[in-house]
Amino acid sequence: MPAVVEMLGITKRFNGFTANDNINLIVQKGEIHALLGENGAGKSTLMNTLFGLYQPDEGEIRIRGERVNITDPNMANRLGIGMVHQHFMLVEPFTVTENIILGMEPKLGAKIDIRKAERQVQELSDRYGLRVDPKAKIRDISVGMQQRVEILKTLYRGAEILIFDEPTAVLTPQEIGELMQIMKNLVSEGKTIIFITHKLKEIMAVCDTCTIIRKGQYIGSVAIQDTNVDDLASKMVGRHVTFEVDKTPAQPKGPVLQVQNLVVEGNRGADALRGLSLEVRAGEILGIAGIEGNGQSELIEAITGLRKIKSGSVLLNNKPIENKKTRQIVEAGVGHIPEDRHKHGLVLDYTIGENMVLQTYYQSPFAKRGVLRYNAIYEYARKLIKQFDVRTPSEFTPARALSGGNQQKGIIAREVDRNPDLLIAAQPTRGLDVGAIEFIHKKLVEQRDAGKAVLLISLELDEILNVSDRIAVIYEGQIVGIVQPEETDHDQLGLMMAGGGKGKGGK
């Protein structure tokens, strides 16, 4: 039997820049096939080609042995190919069912037969263990469930081959576990999955085969039983990668950030922070561990002047900054790598060069008496792009056209290079490849060693445990305990994060 997907010698260029260079991808029916590669290696490009969003410049695609020319996503749908994009495409005020049937509504005369649709959605959901409520509104459900709605959308359209482009980057650890189970259910029902992820553990856990690409070129395919995490990592990056963060014990000095009894209202009106206190000292990395939605975002917004503080105090280098304007806080020495890079970190329509000066565009040498000096801006951008290895065709490329991981590297370059006394890093490695993660962690440690304070917020316990010098656990808007990373483990942290058991030294 021929392979269900054969992409042979695929080349795709964007105005002279080759994103895919003679790539082969052969996927067998009923397998979970990982597509692995660094940020900007060309994974999304290859998948967009399979889904008919891009046309290849060279090469051919065979589906179930038959040569096809996939001109648009509708055609891909007809061929049984479905894609779940990293950024969801759902209509917020609509219900789950309405979103799923959009464009192919079952009719009862001239009316939409919503009952029947709901039944069908429920059936599909049960069959694959997706657990979605067909009647819920999209805006009321979690990110994880929204993603399952996207999966259902493709299944409803009869997809046999499912493409998942970095589905786990936006999920909490719990949701990732659930997704893995769903993927196993799908293949046991005869579906085929192409799975893009940067997390090698996930590949080892669910995949059968892994195809690796590097800088747009095909490196090879391996069976998962013949490989391991280290092997995959070095094949992908082209050198040995260490997973341990290499650092000496912290030498903390005086406090840089002091937060006392902070009370802040959340989006729903109730208090999201209920008398939170913490301290970050110069020369240390304080990690905040917690389950999503326990006040992490509100804490960052309160410190950075983006959210009103009801009571309590925030001191930066012993000077009060509570309820100051964001610009004053930035100028006082706070850097911020925001969690949502598209919404908060970048102006996607600006070039990557322009984005490098988003906070500093009015300062010398980028401007003189209110007039921008583009030469200086782009020279600076070139320096950062080189220094932080941001893969982009040029500094004039719109930020929108960069791969997700390289957008993130751009933000990190900008924030780290400003050399702030306090660097707030919220999920800084989300969606990054292992090489880039290693690099970012090194940068955070470097900032620490240079005597700066680093506040790291992450949902990934491995990252918290590896990078932090101290760990503060946040639960329902309060710090419920402070622990040393070498004296704790996943289980103890997990318990504290769920509101049980206290660590020592909790304030």
Binding site: L53, L306, T326, R327, G345, Y350
Partner: protein, 356 residues
């Protein structure tokens, strides 16, 4: 999906040009359908624009306020705001200029400059008020600016009648010291009312471009327009920028109104309805792709065609509406640039396939 800078720059020129050609073709077919000869029709439009110096001068006279209105709309749009209130801001500019021009005494030249400056400030604040309402109270600018248009119209009529009235339902004529007309220019264009306003319009197009693309203010304004969330995170004051954008947009409209009074009519009439120039500005900005230089192109096209159409009706009896349709079609095709883009994409794709 995302095109490179080169193709997008190329498309920025290609799309309006294609749209104009398509618009002319559709308009021609329509004339044919109505029983007129499109060649005769278009050549009389052409005659009406370029036929003699007078026509040319009058066309440029008609284009001048359109450039200002187009710049006003485009400027706000580039910062993420839809200023429907250019009409009202234009009227406020006219009123301020009519008042200063007729009732203040200042030396020649300076008088005109002061009148324009006062008009700019008045309309700027008028537009800025809508910006303030949006920034402070979250009222959508489309709603407020539409209502402020009516306020401006009726307030202007009342003010003229009560304080500024001259002869026959018009404000008192401005003093010669405030005029933007130049004898030699009128003579050159055989008595047309072309005036210094045109030069001002071109200068302000340049200023707009410079302000938006080359200054820190423009960088902030555009960032807020593209992504207010990221702008806020970067420490920019989003409310201030919304106010500033509407202030500048209104000021641009106001200069347009001032040049109309100081350069063309010499007074302001009590009017039952809107001038329409502010609304035409939306179309002009659309044709010009919200680019200051594109706006000049859009205004020339819009103003030229409308003005030339009168000649067509006078000489050939073809109704001006057919040219209005051409203009609408051009706007339609520009707005449907995605369709054109799509066609271009198909074309390129076809080429790509045949290479294999």
């Amino acid at each position: 999906m995302i095109s490179s800078m080169q193709t997008s720059r190329w498309n920025a020129i290609l799309i309006p040009v294609l749209a104009v050609i398509l618009g002319l073709i559709v308009g021609g077919l329509l004339m044919l359908l109505m029983g007129y000869n499109p060649i005769v029709g278009y050549s009389s439009v052409f005659q009406g624009i370029f036929g003699n110096m007078y026509f040319m001068g009058e066309t440029l006279r008609a284009v001048t306020p359109l450039i200002f209105a187009g710049l006003a709309v485009a400027f706000a749009f580039r910062t993420g705001l839809f200023n429907i209130g250019v009409e009202g801001q234009f009227i406020i500019g006219q009123l301020a200029a009519a008042w200063v021009g007729a009732f203040w005494t200042l030396p020649t030249g300076l008088h005109a400059a002061v009148a324009i400056l006062v008009a700019m400030i008045a309309s700027g604040l008028y537009g800025g008020f809508a910006g303030w309402l949006k920034a402070r109270l979250g009222v959508h600018e489309v709603i407020t600016t539409i209502m402020l248009n009516y306020v401006a119209l009726f307030a202007a009529n009342w003010t003229i009648r009560t304080y500024l009235i001259g002869a026959s339902e018009r404000s008192k004529d401005i003093l010669p010291s405030a005029s933007l007309q130049a004898q030699w220019l009128s003579d050159l264009f055989e008595g047309a009312r072309i005036n210094w306003g045109l030069l001002l319009a071109l200068i302000f197009a340049l200023v707009c471009y410079w302000l938006l693309m080359k200054t820190t203010t423009g960088y902030e304004l555009r960032a807020v327009g593209f992504n207010p969330h990221a702008a806020e995170y970067a420490g920019m004051n989003v409310s201030k920028n919304i106010f500033l954008s509407m202030l500048i947009s209104g000021a641009l409209a106001g200069i347009g109104g001032a040049t109309d009074v100081l350069g063309v009519n010499g007074n302001m009439a009590i009017s039952a309805g809107f001038t329409g120039i502010g609304f035409d500005g939306i179309a002009v900005a659309l044709i010009g792709n919200n680019n200051p230089f594109g706006v000049i192109f859009g205004a020339l096209l819009f103003g030229g065609l409308s003005f030339g159409a009168d000649n067509m009706q006078r000489v050939e009896g073809i109704p001006t509406e057919s040219i209005q349709i051409v203009i609408s079609m051009v706007i339609y095709f520009v707005a449907a640039a995605s369709v054109v883009n799509w066609l271009l994409g198909k074309f390129r794709r076809r080429q790509g396939v045949s290479q294999k």
